[in-house]
């Protein structure tokens, strides 16, 4: 195998190359090419059709002076921080509870994870119904006697993004729990025994020994949550359609609406390039650590 029998390098291992054509095309044409194309056209004044009429950074200036985009970014930040903090904390606590050698572990895990099998559309519509002010949770609590109870996130523009976050957490925490549980199971039983022998209380063991040991799991989970946050779109469409007004708009929806409804492609491209930029800030350091430092791939 070491010596090449055939003179032409291109035809060595030809079958494998043929089998990789879809991957090569996807990587080069769609991922690299498509991204470069969008970034390039974000510097043009394309409206209904993409045109190479460069106007420098005008689209970006316009983007950052559009109230709807600013609201979208603010929402994304709130939603992002809430998702990150709560899904990590709740996911970890649930995993730790399930890791106590309990009975019915499979049943509990099945229950916590099933929302993850549902689409964001289904999630959004269910929570739209649950949070309906006239029929949902608010009415039920009022009927129980607490007349002044008010919980109406979907029609209150100041808190609507929290209503969306509740639904997102319901849908996604199960996944984080599963990742955390896998991480906890990967920890040597002897660590626990040693901690117990030393008389370290359980919460301290988790906080100062187990969590630092699970660093790789946390980093991977963080990357997964972060890349999911930027993509949030269908949930908002289903739950509020961006309303009331523009109170629950998110960047992904901004991009879609400008590309396909407002027929302002340039704005859409500029907005999606900003989304790409925000993902890069998270991904590049991670990818560098993962692929760059040591040759593991």
């Amino acid at each position: 195998m070491s010596k090449s029998e055939r003179p032409n390098q291109l035809f060595r291992n030809l079958n494998a190359k043929v089998a990789s054509i879809p991957m090569i095309l996807t990587a080069l044409v769609v991922f690299v090419g498509g991204t470069a194309w969008t970034v390039l056209y974000s510097f043009t004044n394309s409206k209904l059709l993409p045109r190479l009429n460069f106007i420098g950074l005008d689209q970006y200036y316009r983007l950052w002076s559009t109230p709807r985009w600013l609201v979208s970014i603010e929402n994304l930040l709130i939603y992002g921080v809430l998702s990150l903090v709560f899904s990590l904390v709740i996911g970890f606590i649930l995993a730790a509870l399930l890791d106590q050698k309990i009975r019915f572990e499979d049943t509990f895990r099945t229950i916590f994870l099933y929302p993850f099998a549902l689409s964001f559309i289904v999630t959004g519509l269910v929570w739209q119904w649950l949070l309906n002010p006239d029929f949902g949770i608010q009415r039920v609590v009022r009927e129980l006697g607490w007349e002044s109870f008010s919980f109406n996130p979907l029609y209150d523009s100041s808190i609507v993004i929290y209503g969306i976050s509740i639904a997102a957490l319901w849908q996604g925490t199960g996944l984080i729990m599963c990742l955390m549980l896998a991480g906890l199971r990967g920890i040597d039983e002897d660590i626990w025994k040693a901690a117990r022998v030393d008389g370290i209380p359980m919460w301290k063991t988790y906080l100062f020994i187990i969590i630092p040991m699970m660093r790789p799991v946390f980093i991977t989970t963080l990357v997964i949550i972060a890349s999911g946050i930027v993509k949030v779109y269908d949930l908002v469409v289903a739950q509020t359609s961006g309303g009331p007004g523009i109170a629950s708009e998110v960047p992904a929806k901004y991009v879609y609406d400008y590309m396909f409804f407002a027929q302002n492609l340039g704005q859409g491209f500029a907005a999606s390039t900003m989304m790409l930029l925000s993902v890069m800030i998270v991904i590049v350091p991670w990818a560098y650590l993962e692929f760059g430092g040591r040759k593991r791939v």
Binding site: A19, L28, F31, D106, Y114, P115, V140, G174, L276, I283
Partner: protein, 311 residues
């Protein structure tokens, strides 16, 4: 409950000490404070997670008058399947009023070929990456994996142009290609890692026996890796069925997948809101992935873990 401490096998060193007194952790009581806290918390959280499903089912079985009067948590006084029938065959989106059934069959016609095509491409590709490396393969692979994190919004318009150029924009085949493209990173990773973990000798022996690229794939790798294929199918069926963005971008109203149609039915502004029909339609849309989830059990967890954590 957790009195498994009693049955812990004692290491040999402690056996000698047994005579001198009890050893090992104190056996716990079934209703210790710890257990009440532990199970109490888990049950409360489980109820919270089940609540939306319960409300969905209950609402879909009530008539509208009962919904207006009662509260969403109360079980239906009079069970009616009318909303389900209506959601399936009569609910309106825009002008056509043939219910969700159209979206369901569209989704089937999208999901089945997408799952087959994406898995076929990715498994062969993963096999090539694991066993038949060629120069530059890893570079493309890294691009593919990093590309998986690029927001879809960045790539949707260039793909619109590509599909329009090859005449598939708006068709189901176009959407199938899109799903195969975006399923590729995760599936290729899954298969590559799985095939890499198979013993190298197996591959060498087959080579010595004269089997080629496709021969080894079809006769050795494929039969030996059925579990990972099942995982991939689960991953793809739920993922593609639940997709909304690609459906809304790359199809037309008459080829909308179920999720898009559902959203149009429920969030349509005209007419009186029929919450029971909406909830029935929502369950119907969620049913396929839910069935896949409950039937697959641990494999689903394996699928998402494989999908989420690399390696």
């Amino acid at each position: 409950m957790s009195d498994q401490a009693v049955s812990l096998p004692l290491p040999p060193a402690t056996i000698g000490r047994e005579a001198s007194g009890p050893s090992g952790p104190k056996p716990r009581h079934r209703f210790s404070r710890r257990n009440i806290f532990l199970y109490g918390t888990l049950i409360v959280v489980a109820l919270y997670y089940l609540l939306p499903l319960y409300v969905m089912v209950v609402t879909s079985l009530k008539g509208m008058p009962e919904i207006r009067l009662g509260n969403i948590f109360s079980p239906p006084l009079e069970i009616t399947f009318e909303p389900w029938v209506k959601a399936w065959s009569k609910a309106c989106t825009g002008l056509n009023c043939d219910g969700l059934s159209r979206g369901f069959w569209n989704s089937v016609r999208i999901t089945v070929p997408s799952v087959i095509l994406s898995i076929a491409i990715a498994s062969v590709n993963g096999y090539a990456l694991a066993n038949w490396r060629f120069k530059g393969a890893d570079t493309f692979f890294v691009i593919l994996i990093v590309g998986a994190f690029i927001p879809y919004q960045v790539m949707i318009y260039p793909i619109v142009i590509i599909l329009r150029e090859i005449g598939l924009y708006g068709s189901l085949s176009g959407l199938v290609i899109v799903h195969s493209i975006f399923g590729m990173p995760i599936l290729t990773l899954l298969f590559r890692n799985y095939f890499s973990s198979m013993p190298e000798e197996l591959f060498r022996a087959a080579r010595v026996d004269g089997a080629g690229f496709w021969g080894i794939y079809l006769r050795i790798m494929l039969p030996m890796s059925l579990p990972i294929f099942v995982v991939a199918v689960i991953l793809q069926v739920t993922g593609i069925w639940n997709d909304f963005l690609f459906g809304v971008v790359y199809t037309r109203p008459d080829t909308y997948p179920m999720t898009v149609q559902l959203n149009n039915i429920v969030n349509s502004v005209q007419g009186v809101k029929e919450y029971n029909v909406n909830m029935a339609a929502t369950i119907l849309t969620g049913l396929v992935p839910l069935i896949v989830y409950f039937l697959s059990g641990k494999l689903f967890v394996r699928g998402i873990a494989a999908g989420a954590v690399k390696g």
